[in-house]
Amino acid sequence: MSFLDFFVVFCFLGGVVCSAVVALHPNILYAAVALIGSLLAVAGVYASLGADFLAAAQLIIYVGGVIVVILFAVMMSESIYKRRFLDGVKKMFLPTILSIALMLGMFKLLVSTNWGELRIPNYENTTIRIGQALTGPYALIFEYVAIVLLFGLIGAIVVARPNILKKDQDGGNS
């Protein structure tokens, strides 16, 4: 059992446990902290699959950015420490059955299929190739994502500012 096998199994178990906490813990602050663990496990999987730039991007953008935003929203929401964020047993019945059925079906498909051997590349640096791909064959998608980012940020600012409409209405009245 090599170190890579140990690391992949460790990431798998950590990701499974942390995502279970995200799904099942009644306290949303604990769920948000467990989300950090599952995103770190995903970064470990990226690194062990030879996608080093992607693992770094996952660490920086997700764990450094998105998690901070989520934690800010969690801290802002009222009654963090009340156990009210999960539904009652009655409303969890159908989602539980659906989830178990979906998981069993996908695991059956997964085990019964011969996927072939992975050829993990020799952990070469993929940053150069990603940069060449982003400016070459994927340039159009890259520009498209840039436009989506710009308009998403503008839309987020417009939505989050509550005073724009009020000022317009006051100006119209006076």
């Binding site: 096998d5 998105v66 050829r119 993929t126 998403g152 989050a160």
Partner: protein, 112 residues
């Protein structure tokens, strides 16, 4: 017992499946919009794991491998998830300011 498990696609797809199912369960059962958003993050990460795993299935050990599509798409997933976080937090802030509540079941002004 686990020898060679890192060179088999099964454990990565199993991790992706578990992430997807727990994310779907989170989306369906949380009574908090931020909780639903965390479920969306789990589902997006499941898709990204699948992309990178199939990249590694197709990757050649030669230096000039053209199979980089999986990594590129995972990168786009990460970037779009970041902007999705910003927009989702803006909507949550606005709804919380208007309703003092971010339970998706209680916010039903747009219900048809």
């Amino acid at each position: 017992m686990f020898a060679g498990i890192a060179h088999n696609l099964t454990i990565y797809l199993a991790m992706s499946t578990v992430f997807f199912v727990f994310g779907l369960f989170t989306i369906l059962t949380r009574r908090n919009a931020v909780g639903v958003f965390m479920g969306v993050e789990l589902v997006l990460n499941a898709a990204a794991i699948n992309f990178v795993a199939f990249y590694a299935l197709k990757a050649d050990s030669a230096q000039s491998s053209p199979w980089l599509d999986g990594q590129i798409f995972s990168l786009f997933i990460i970037v779009l998830a970041a902007i999705e976080a910003a927009v989702a937090l803006a909507i949550v802030l606005r709804v919380f300011g208007a309703k003092k509540n971010i339970d998706p079941d209680q916010v039903m002004e747009l219900r048809g």
